[in-house]
Amino acid sequence: MSHLHGQDPRVVIARRCARELRAGEVVNLGIGIPTMTANYLPPGVQVIFHSENGCFGFGPKPGTLEADSDVSNASTEPVTLMPGAAIMDLTTSLGAMRNGYIATSVLGGLEVDQEGNLANWASKRNGKWWPGIGGAMDLCYGVPRIIAALQHTDKHGHSKVKKRTHLPLTGKGCVKVIVTDHAVFDVTPEGLVLREAYPGLTVENIRAVTEADFTVSPNFGPMDI
């Protein structure tokens, strides 16, 4: 039986990630769980969402008859433009990502490790690396604060928070915070520091499902969710 008592782990992760976003900052959300983060922003926290297809300041999904075929996010889901939105071309958008204009990015992951390495673009299928890179590597290179949002274990129960990643990397040492359905870790020069565990879980519970080494923060407490 899951420690989440039937809650969708992806929603737990997205809700917790939303609390990591800081008022006023420029944020890029990757596809999947990260995209869901936008739905759980705490009241009063305004951030500017960047989308790599060329926009600062996109907003919620429109109604069917309001959807504009030229206004969509990086996964080509229809979105709206907030007052003050700005459109840019692709090289500008990717240049902004490389050159530090995006403060925080929430990215999904296949594996993350205790040195902050993130792997999320390739696994081996039919002897080939699949599926591809997109904008994730540009984000890992240039965004100062990468939040890795991923389920703590794979479907076989193996830890996705590793001592060392094995898959091709998306970014080296880029992850600053790891948010899973079990825990929140900070990635520090001294290694992983456990900051929070899902309410009801102990440090020992987290150790039992985590391959990576970690220490426990003096401020350790239940997940702020």
Binding site: S69, T76, M88, T91, P131, G135, P168
Partner: protein, 256 residues
């Protein structure tokens, strides 16, 4: 004689021959030249090398169909599985992909091709994408260069026989205006093609597009062709978004 680049899709697309190297404007299905894609499907022009940001949007939609139809021999871009059709073709060995590029790298390679540069020096992926054996189909290992103590990948420029872009409005001089997130790098793609076709929602008289709204100047365009009207394009995308569950269905009797 007045310059008039407006022509039929047949006349423009006759420049795309089997085995051609084709660039196409798009971002996961958005901003794709729908009518020109339909022409390629109808005429079954094959063995194409497709240079496009992603491999389209899933669910039997526009550019993705080119992979399902087996018309694409090689794909040069950032992602092999934004459409299930490209993913299937790649995993079954029918589609050649020598390597994937980070999106910013791919965009700069296209820009370099369009702007007369040999390539771009890119720090993204150093120590990752140049690892030996990662991309076994590369003819030579990825090169690196050091500038002021920092390492960059040497990424060669990309050019094409034909570039096909999609804009909002164009005039007979070939000036193209873009809308919102369909701006993408359509202008750079236009500049990187030996022959460039602009498919637009609306063809307007010279002077109708304010000069500061021209996103791709006419000299970079060889042919202007009529695509879907903006209203019909909205319907095409809304229908597909409903099909993918990204928009709610409309009540009986209403059309998107």
């Amino acid at each position: 004689m007045n310059i008039d680049k407006v022509m039929s899709i047949d006349a423009a697309m006759a420049h795309v021959t089997p085995g051609a190297r084709v660039m196409m404007g798009e971002f996961v299905g958005a901003g794709e030249p729908a009518k020109c894609i339909e022409w390629l499907l109808a005429h079954r022009i094959d063995r194409l090398t497709l240079i496009a940001n992603t491999s389209g949007l899933r669910g039997d939609f526009l550019m993705g169909k080119l992979f399902a139809a087996g018309l694409i021999e090689e794909y040069i871009g950032t992602h092999g599985a934004t459409s299930n059709e490209a993913s299937d073709a790649y995993l079954s060995g029918k589609l050649k992909v020598r390597q994937f590029f980070p999106m910013g790298t791919w965009a700069e390679k296209v820009r370099a091709g369009g702007h007369g540069l040999g390539g771009a020096l890119v720090p993204v992926g150093v120590g990752i994408l140049d690892q030996e054996g990662l991309f076994p189909d590369l003819e030579e290992p990825k090169r690196t260069i050091e500038i002021r103590g920092k390492t960059y990948l040497v990424e060669e420029a990309l050019t094409a026989d034909v570039s096909i872009i999609r804009g909002y409005r164009a005039d007979p001089l070939g000036n193209v205006e873009f809308r919102y997130m369909a701006t993408q790098n359509q202008k750079d793609l236009a500049m990187a093609g030996k022959f460039t076709i602009a498919e637009v929602n609306e063809i307007v008289p010279v002077g109708a597009i304010p000069p500061e709204r021209v996103g791709c100047p006419g000299p970079f365009v060889n042919a202007v062709v009529q695509g879907y009207s903006l209203a019909d394009q909205h319907t095409l995308y809304r229908d597909h978004w409903i099909k993918l569950g990204r928009l709610p269905k409309l009540p009986e009797g209403e059309t998107p």
